[in-house]
Amino acid sequence: MPERSGVEVRLENLQRRYGAVVALDDLSLTIAPGELVALLGPSGCGKTTALRLLAGLEDADGGRVVIGGEDVTGLPANRRNIGMVFQAYSLFPHMVAWENVAFGLQMRGVGLAERKKRAIDVLELVGLSRFANRYASQMSGGQQQRVALARALAISPQVLLLDEPLSALDAKVRSRLRDEIRRIQLEVGITTLFVTHDQEEALAIADRVGVMQSGRLEQLGPPMTVYSRPATPFVADFVGLTNRIQGTVSRGSVDVRGATIPLVDSSVPDGPATALVRPEAVSLVGNGEAQEGPLIGTVIAVAFLGATSRVTVDLGDITVLAQLPTSAAAEHPAGTRVKLALRPDPVLVDSHN
């Protein structure tokens, strides 16, 4: 991996209100030099507001933005050294690709020959140097976003901000460009904040994922931790699919329909609670024909996802999702009776039923 040369970015107690709506509620976040942090959350959770405050496109009501040790809270957007790729196509329609990429360099007083050379070099980095003389309207959406990325990188910014840059693209292009963004980010070693509502995107690309809700950071951690050890029921619900199954907490574990599962947080008081169980922790064991029991039910749907399939099982009072290898799922077509087993991985419980 190339040596990381980015700067540290700190958002300290950021606050932002729109009338009565609190968009950011005391948000603090530190991004290490060269790190890619993805902010993930539902619409209106404040992730884009955080990014816009960092870019200087909006003013904070309170708190500080510190980039590379320098307080830039009061600096306007054009005086912060930040590259940004937007959700909407943002290439200047009257300029060809290389002119778009060279625009930031022109603003910094770089001469024509030098900025053209550097623009072509950066276009080469995103694999589009042969489109240097094309207008935005002569390129596909994916190509436009790659040129936008080149334009943001051409000014050698201290920080790269990506505001849902893939959301307007179709699935195949999105996945390819996502990997390309990560490759370039690692190659350049730039500190990056990536905002998205697509959890798959965030988990695939980021060094750390921050899950936001109502202007606050619910959890910040490596993708694997956020997925497998969600800090709050909201994170468990938002990241990945979760079965909510009624159970009873007793001495550091939860009894769910006869199965005992350890808790992530053993300090939860005893009593009724909802266990949050991942579909991949649910498996189908044996034939449930002619049997009765709390974990025996009927398969009502099988969704083919490629290597795995998602099986929906009706237990009478609730439905439970199980994610299995497709070959295993094929043995249990819709209508068959099955018995469920719950893997004893530590789970979170939601005691606010």
Partner: protein, 280 residues
């Protein structure tokens, strides 16, 4: 069966073609006959004398008329520039920072459309009276009233131009790359709404060159007032000037349509290239 269908379709196409030609000829006659009559009148000889261009040639010999033509052209230029300087930044700013004010700005800009010019004069008269005494009584001060007069037409045209681009994203992209507000306006917004700016400029020029009521009632002699006055003394010259001003407006319109057609052709080429890229 297919031959019959082709025959029916061919007949339909022919009928449509004939209809188009009839409409085109009728519209052409509607516009050209009055202008032809004006040209015929302005070149008519006295009594039995043959046709002459004397009226056209004598346009330059009327000092008041030349002064009025100059003043109207200056007014057209000042009004257009003032309107653009006032309207373009305001509309962009409102879109970016105060979108809730957009309906109010639209209402204010469209208001002059609902007020007859003669009513406008009643309101303007005391202001011009005061300006004449304390500031200047130059005919060029009419440009203030004319900016108000052209607002509705210019607003509509510029609004259409701004709606065709993503002003907010383009502005923020340019700002994040280091551009100040003036650079954003001059290097990013203006080039992308150039057609709308040209359209609004043309409408302003056409309106100012054809304006009579306000100038006449505020006692200024612009082109139209001078044409009306000249019509009483020498109808031939008056009509020649009217035709000349129509031709001037026509030339501006043709130039504008050529510019827009060039852009349209460019967009078609761009579209074809994208389709080739997508196929590739």
């Amino acid at each position: 069966m297919a031959a019959v269908r082709r025959g029916v379709q061919g007949t339909r196409r022919l009928k449509l073609q004939v209809f188009r030609i009839i409409v085109f000829v009728a519209a052409g006659l509607f516009f050209l006959v009055p202008i032809g009559a004006m040209v015929e009148f302005s070149t008519r000889g006295v009594g039995d004398q043959p046709r002459t261009l004397a009226a056209w040639q004598s346009i330059g010999t009327y000092p008041d008329l030349v002064a009025a033509i100059t003043a109207s052209l200056e007014l057209a230029a000042i009004t257009t520039i003032a309107m653009l300087v006032l309207l373009v930044p305001t509309m962009v700013w409102v879109r970016l920072k105060l979108p809730r004010l957009n309906p109010i700005i639209e209402f204010i800009c469209l208001l002059p459309l609902t007020i007859p010019a003669i009513v406008l004069v009643v309101g303007l008269f005391p202001i011009y009276n005061w300006m004449g005494t304390n500031f200047s009584d130059s005919i060029l001060t009419l440009s203030i009233a004319y900016v108000v007069l052209v607002l509705p037409y210019a607003y509509r045209s510029l609004e259409a131009g701004l709606a065709s681009i993503d002003v907010k994203t383009l502005t923020e992209a340019a700002r994040s790359l280091g551009a100040g507000w003036f650079t954003v306006m001059w290097r990013i917004i203006v080039p992308n709404i150039s057609s709308a700016i040209l359209n609004s400029a043309f409408l302003s020029v056409a309106l100012v060159l054809g304006e009579y009521t306000i100038a006449n009632n505020l006692l200024y002699n612009n082109l139209q007032v001078e044409i009306a006055m000249l019509g009483r003394a020498n109808a031939g010259v008056s009509i020649a000037v009217a035709v000349a001003s129509l031709l001037f407006a026509f030339v501006v319109l043709v130039l504008l349509s050529f510019f827009n057609r060039g852009r349209g052709r460019l967009q078609l080429v761009e579209l074809q290239q994208v389709m080739r890229t997508e196929r590739g």
